[in-house]
Every structure is written in structure tokens, then in C-alpha cells.
């Protein structure tokens, strides 16, 4: 977002930034917490259900808390490029590959 970005889009950007990362990002100014919570919960829960339905084994291996944290990071850090719902799991795999590659590079640097 630049200074040329229209005002309404800067608001939208603040809106989705908060939904993606409610722990770090501020709630958009002038918006009631109770109402914003609806989006915070609905958007993440829908995505969580879509992803979880496709990876029962990974979920079991990682355990509930780690799985939840991983999907949260996926939503916070990954920019999904496909509008097709059945490709959401593929978006998740793209994200996993990215973080694995990143971690491997860091490990190799220390060898």
C-alpha cells in the first residue's frame, strides 16, 4: 500500500491485516471489537476446517495445539492465489514447502 492508495482501500487493508494477524495488528479504527471478532473467527475457522479436513494424519502427528498454530501461521503468512476451493490444501502445501526450504537453508548455513 502506498500513499496513492485510495482511502477506502487503506481501510480494507487494515481490515484484512487484522483478520490475518489479530495478535500483532491493531483493530481498524472506529470498529467495535464485538463485531470485528465475528470476522476474525469466521474467516479463520472456515479456512481451518478446509485445511484440517484434508490432512488428518498431519493433524494427528502434530497434535491439536501445534496444528492450530501451524494453520494460524499459514493464514498469517501465506498469500493464496487460487479462488478454487479444492485448491486450498495445495496452497497449504505450497506454504509448507516454503517454510521447510527456509529452515533447511538456515540449517545448512551452520553446517
Amino acid at each position: 500500500m502506498t500513499n496513492d492508495t485510495p482511502y477506502f482501500q487503506r481501510y480494507q487493508q487494515a481490515f484484512t491485516a487484522y483478520i490475518r494477524d489479530p495478535l500483532q495488528q491493531p483493530r481498524p479504527a472506529g470498529v467495535a471489537a464485538k463485531r470485528m471478532n465475528v470476522y476474525k473467527e469466521i474467516v479463520f475457522n472456515n479456512l481451518f476446517e478446509s485445511v484440517s479436513a484434508c490432512f488428518p494424519v498431519a493433524q494427528k502427528v502434530l497434535g491439536k495445539r501445534a496444528w492450530l498454530a501451524l494453520v494460524r501461521r499459514f493464514f498469517r503468512d501465506h498469500s493464496a492465489n487460487s479462488p478454487i476451493f479444492r485448491q486450498i490444501p495445495e496452497e497449504f502445501v505450497i506454504y509448507l514447502k516454503k517454510i521447510v526450504t527456509y529452515r533447511m537453508k538456515r540449517i545448512y548455513r551452520h553446517i
Binding site: 477506502f8 480494507q12 484484512t16 483478520i19 469466521i42 474467516v43 498469500s79 487460487s82 479462488p83 479444492r86
Partner: protein
């Protein structure tokens, strides 16, 4: 009185949103009295584009037996990322392939252009109601219509947060977008009711302000009451009486336009859903009888 857009309503009567859970039941009941009021079926292209195997066979089965309409979820007309024209080409191909005459979308957004990509959030987020947003959305609707080579209809969305930066009300925004984009209206009766409770306005007054001549068809659905002043548009409950009343009033105002029942969650067995389908059909014929009586009185 009939003001809704007959010419571009290539569908009639009552429709049902197609959910995978319902498919075997509809197939089993096909040709029977039970489902005789289902006249058309609605699908989300995001669920059906380029499917294969069993899903493809199911889609073919419905295409052969029912008029189909496409109701999209992820075009993101108010989105921050550029309009996804590659996806629109896929939609165009899909509409042609299955001979689907109508494509509708929401007046909302589902992309934020995060990290220079589309950034799909897979949900319907509220566009702030400002002049700039009217022009922006209308331009993207026009662009969509140019790519598809046909007019689309946009649906009034439900929402839970009123943007403090909005400079106009929802009805003014919808009307301005429809005029500037010269597109059609997919009127969601439940969404009018949900928003009227969430933001404290008169649903009937809102309905009377709708440009009826742009309506191609409508939706009814149930919702979840989270608090007395907060309704969540879950499509997971039965349609409530105030929404039926609004639908009845809409038929009186604009004529008995085609209407589709949406049920996406907590789906009951088919016979229970059909009771609501039949109720729509009853209201439509009641309104048509009323209309013909009025015409007789005036002729």
C-alpha cells in the same frame, strides 16, 4: 405489477442451491411429486470448475435435467488485488461448456492483494460505502461483463461491521453501483433482513427502494441469532417468518421473480428442505393470482 427483469431471467419458479450432501437424495427423488417444485439449481463455480471423476458425473447429471445458474463466491469485485482475469476466463469456459446463462457475484471482497499476490481469504468481506468504492467496483463489474460478453448480477451481501469511513448507506451504494455498471441485481432477501437487524434500519423501507427492474432472481435463507442485535448469515437454519414476509412484500412490489433457497450448513433431509421450496412456490402463485385479480379489476 411485474417489474423484475423477465428478459434476462432465463430461469423460473423456485431453485435450490446444490450441495453435495443433497445430490444422492435429489437423484433418488427425481421425477417424483416431492421435488416437482424445484425448477432450477444453483452452483458455485469455485466448487465445480474443472472437477473430474464422480463430481463431474454428478454435474453432468444435473446439467441434463435442470437449468443451472452460477453464483460465485471469490471473484472479489471489491478486492484489493487486480481482478483475476485468468479465473474469469475459466468461468467463461465453464458457462459455455455447460450452457449456463447466468453468472452472479457478491458486492463484497475476498482478496487483499497480500504480498503482491491475490491473497484469497475465502470469505465475503464488507466494502466501505464511499464514492471512490462505487467507481472502483462498477469498473470491475464492467470489466467482468466485457470479458464474459454478458451482463452479470450482483448480490447485496450480509455483513457485521459498518465501515466508519462510509459516506453513504447500503441502498445508495447498491443503486449507484448498479447504475454505473449497468448490471443486474441478485436480490438476497435474507441479507436485507440480517443487515437491518445488525445495523438497525427498516428492512421494508430498504426493499421499497430497490430498483425492481434489475432483479433477475432472489435468495432466501436462514441465519443464526448470536445476539438480539447480531445475526450471522450461516444458511444453516430454517427461513424465519420476517424473511418470508419480506419475500411476500417483494413479490407484491416487483412481481413473483424466481427465488432460490440457500442451505449450506446443518442440512436437513430433503423432505424437510422441500417444505421451504414449496412455501416459495405457494407465495409465488399467491402473488400471481393477486396480480391477475388486480389486472382484471383495472381492465
Amino acid at each position: 405489477m411485474t417489474t423484475f427483469n423477465h428478459a434476462e431471467s432465463t430461469i423460473n419458479g423456485v431453485g435450490l442451491g446444490l450441495k453435495r450432501e443433497l445430490i444422492p437424495q435429489i437423484q433418488a427423488a427425481f421425477g417424483q411429486e416431492l421435488i416437482s417444485n424445484i425448477n432450477f439449481v444453483e452452483i458455485a463455480p469455485e466448487n465445480w470448475i474443472e472437477v473430474g471423476g464422480k463430481a463431474r458425473k454428478q454435474l453432468d447429471w444435473f446439467v441434463e435435467r435442470y437449468p443451472i445458474v452460477c453464483h460465485g463466491l471469490c471473484l472479489s469485485l471489491g478486492g484489493l488485488a487486480p481482478l483475476n482475469t485468468a479465473f474469469l476466463q475459466q468461468v467463461k469456459k465453464f458457462l459455455t461448456q455447460y450452457n449456463i446463462p447466468l453468472y452472479t457475484e457478491h458486492l463484497s471482497y475476498s482478496t487483499d492483494g497480500y504480498k503482491g499476490q491475490q491473497g484469497y481469504l475465502y470469505d465475503l468481506l464488507p466494502i466501505p460505502f464511499t464514492e471512490e468504492a462505487v467507481h472502483y467496483v462498477a469498473k470491475r463489474i464492467r470489466q467482468t461483463q466485457d470479458i464474459l460478453g454478458q451482463r452479470i448480477a450482483v448480490e447485496n451481501a450480509s455483513f457485521y461491521v459498518q465501515a466508519p469511513i462510509s459516506t453513504m448507506d447500503e441502498l445508495t451504494f447498491i443503486k449507484a453501483v448498479l447504475t454505473e455498471a449497468d448490471c443486474l441485481l441478485h436480490l438476497d432477501i435474507n441479507n436485507i433482513y440480517v443487515n437491518s437487524v445488525n445495523f438497525g434500519f427498516d428492512a421494508h423501507e430498504f426493499l421499497r427502494g430497490i430498483p425492481g427492474e434489475r432483479i433477475v432472481y432472489s435468495h432466501v435463507a436462514g441465519h443464526y441469532q448470536q445476539a438480539p442485535d447480531l445475526l450471522i448469515d450461516t444458511h444453516g437454519e430454517d427461513v424465519i417468518d420476517p424473511v418470508w414476509t419480506l419475500l411476500e412484500e417483494a413479490y407484491q412490489l416487483f412481481g413473483a421473480f424466481p427465488t432460490l433457497l440457500e442451505r449450506d450448513n446443518n442440512i436437513p433431509p430433503l423432505p424437510a428442505l422441500i417444505r421451504e421450496v414449496d412455501k416459495i412456490a405457494t407465495l409465488q402463485s399467491k402473488s400471481q393470482q393477486h396480480t391477475s385479480m388486480t389486472l382484471q379489476v383495472h381492465s
